[in-house]
Symmetry: C2
Subunit: 448 residues, 2 copies
């Protein structure tokens, strides 16, 4: 037996929910499964293929991207003595991007490029749970990675797919803010600032600590003067839908090659996205996406109706994430849909229909005296024709059987005859109409 | 930053596979996804509904079922100091049965009984990987749990569903051994043995240590004499298909009420299963299934062609697993399909077709000079009609585009015109026939 001292939870404690690890009831899970099917159908309609990497990575791989070490769950073995100073080697992935990057790098010679994968999988973060933020959550990602330049085509296609996916699950109106990190870096370098990525990190805190707080940090940490800081804040306040944004930036009178490149990219992306949905996309130069690996276009999507709720999709372009594993340039672009976050909110807002407690369409009644094999054969005949069918599992009072069908919301009740030559009947649970039917030919339309 | 000393893996080490955590290539994963779809369609056709419990449980819950503590992966946080004697509280589930039992107990008031769930999810065991045995693996389970007696109907339906699921993924001929623990326990109590469950545990070792080894253990630990041990071994050697087994057991001259009950149950189950597939099911009184929670019918399935390969499905009836959480009787029955185990073996035996590297059916060529939006519109029109379509992502030499289609095995190549009024053409990759087509009406049949 294990040297591990058992914590001896009470029966009640054993059944208690674990904070940050939400579980769905069957009727909710049915909707989630349906959503996942819708989303992957859309991903596949654009030629993305599924991968499902292992859930663990070496800690070294997970730490690669910086400021996330607090959140990493490590893996141990129960039999490892708790006081050993053996260090954790593996951790659970906290997103689907890092595992994808490692997977692509590890399988370079076996993949076709541009490699277009989707990944619908859970991720884990040991952070404090709060509204829309969990320790176990489901993400739906698409990414394109190439051994050569990834064309701007994908900067347009990827948010278009994301938009279509959100529409397919009736997520309601959403709003995607778009920026290009080349504009930020180009603008800052045009202002002759040294550490542009540190500046981006600090400016990204405006939402949290306000302009004054950020100004203090910029002065203290990067020794910037008021004039430069004003120029920076002017940039972050530019919003709009394409050419007008470009014009405003150019009016600020800052110049660099990188800035021009960023503006050209943003212009193309916004022009093409306008054809898809004029309302849903807008430039917002204040968003930068915390993660250091983004190098071009970045996206951030929120519910239009719940703008205070955390972002429900995010992503962007990264030049060096995958290639760093193999010391090669392997640029990529991708986006991640926060499925658990969307689900929880829409469930809370009562915008998800959870009427169906089971997939069953027909309940075949075990009529008193009917031979088991006749009931069984009836269910099997209907099942072979593509219906989801439960054969009631025992000879019991009709009322108990009907109550079972009602509890599960089963729409059709099938009455087999009590002898082989007798007549089958089918009843609609809602209209309560009942009529003769043949299990080999009956169709729902007829029985209504 | 973390106090954790980074292990500093080399680039090569970061990309190395982790033993026991297999990963599929995209063309393999496509088959796995397809298998899962087939299997859940069958599960749903019998009215089973999906649940997906969190992957972690309190250690106390996982330890409940005994001899598995060596295998449990525990969860820590990277920032927890490695030398703290804080004990692990949560572990990853090592099967799908325990989490289901805890989930049902925790949600008693919100579920409809008999509760019929399926669960297709990964599980984790920290044991030594070997042929067909992994540390991360995919299982497909169905279970029925009720607040009252679970009728024998399910002892028949559950292996029937399992058989149909295995057929749907072309697992080839399989062979299921069936036993009933009531027969074992009833027979042993008829022999006046005290500790019947300990006897079952020891006799289950015949495969590993042979009859002599087990005889020694039975003498040493349970103080049985040679005559009793002979009687025990006579039982284990009975095989067959129903009534003949019952006759043989009765000829052994041992009697108890529990034995009679076990024989009645087994007779019903075997009679009904004969109607489903005479060849696939047989009684084997030597199987007991290691886990202590089984109390009635037990199942164990192997590949008929690879009998030395570990079992690919297993399950049975349990009277007290769920109810133990709530001090109530909640009997259940279920079976588990070892998907990863099946997949790995059939892949190794080259019985899985991995030709398709992507879901794409049509590649829309970016013809030199064609307007981006015309290419885009063509792809979108075809996509809206239900095809999986890639729009080639840049204006590049035709050869490069065709090579891309070939690498991914894309069956149709679509050539949009270079101007809006021009003619579309479509080409079959295999026959190489090319002909005019309209994206709004074209069907694959016509183009052949």
């Amino acid at each position: 037996m294990s040297p591990f001292k058992k914590p001896s939870l009470t029966a009640k404690e054993k059944l208690r929910p674990i904070s940050g690890f939400p579980e769905l009831l069957p009727e909710e899970r049915r909707v989630e499964v349906d959503w996942i099917d819708q989303i992957r159908t859309i991903f596949e309609s654009y030629g993305f293929t599924s991968i499902e990497p292992r859930i663990v990575e070496p800690i070294d791989v997970l730490l690669k991207q910086g400021d996330t070490d607090k959140e990493i769950y490590t893996l141990g073995r129960l039999l490892d003595t708790p006081n050993s100073d053996k260090e954790p080697t593996f951790g659970l992935h906290y997103d689907l991007t890092i595992p994808m990057a490692r997977y692509v790098a590890a399988n370079m010679g076996k993949l076709d490029f541009p490699f277009k994968r989707y990944q619908i999988q859970k991720a884990w973060r040991g952070e404090r749970p709060q509204d829309g933020r969990f320790r176990e959550f489901m993400q739906c990602d698409i990414d394109v990675v190439d051994t050569r330049e990834v064309p701007l085509h994908f900067d347009v296609e990827i948010p278009a797919i994301m938009n279509q996916a959100l529409a397919s699950i009736n997520a309601g109106p959403v709003f995607t803010k778009i920026n290009n990190r080349k504009i930020l870096e180009g603008y800052y370098s045009g202002l002759d600032m040294g550490n542009t990525s540190e500046a981006i990190r600090l400016i990204d805190k405006v939402d949290k600590i306000g302009f004054d707080g950020v100004a203090d940090l910029l002065k203290a940490e990067l020794e910037l003067n008021n004039k430069t800081i004003d120029k920076i804040f002017q940039l972050t306040q530019i919003h709009g839908s394409g050419q007008q944004v470009v014009d405003q930036i150019q009016n600020l009178g800052v110049h660099s090659e990188l800035l021009d490149q960023g503006l050209t990219e943003l212009t193309f992306v916004m022009q093409e996205l306008e054809h898809i949905d004029k309302q849903a996309f807008a430039v917002d130069l204040s968003i930068a996406r915390g993660l250091a690996y983004y190098t071009g276009t970045v996206y951030e999507t929120r519910f239009a109706e719940y703008p205070a709720y955390p972002s429900i999709c995010g992503g962007g372009r990264y030049d060096n994430l995958v290639g760093d594993f193999v010391s090669k340039r392997l640029p990529g672009i991708g986006i991640s849909i926060g499925l658990s976050r969307i689900f929880t909110k829409l469930l809370k807002e009562k915008r998800i229909n959870t009427d169906k407690k089971s997939p069953t369409e027909i309940l075949v009644i075990h009529s008193r005296g009917a031979p088991y094999r006749l009931v069984n054969k009836t269910a099997q005949t209907l099942r072979q024709r593509g219906f989801n069918v439960e054969q009631y599992h025992e000879d019991r009072k009709l009322n108990a059987q009907l109550k079972y069908a009602e509890g599960k919301g089963i729409p059709w009740i099938w009455f087999p005859p009590v002898n082989v030559d007798g007549e089958h009947q089918v009843k609609n649970s809602v209209s309560r109409e009942q009529q003769p039917a043949d299990p080999a030919t009956w169709m729902p339309g007829k029985g209504k």
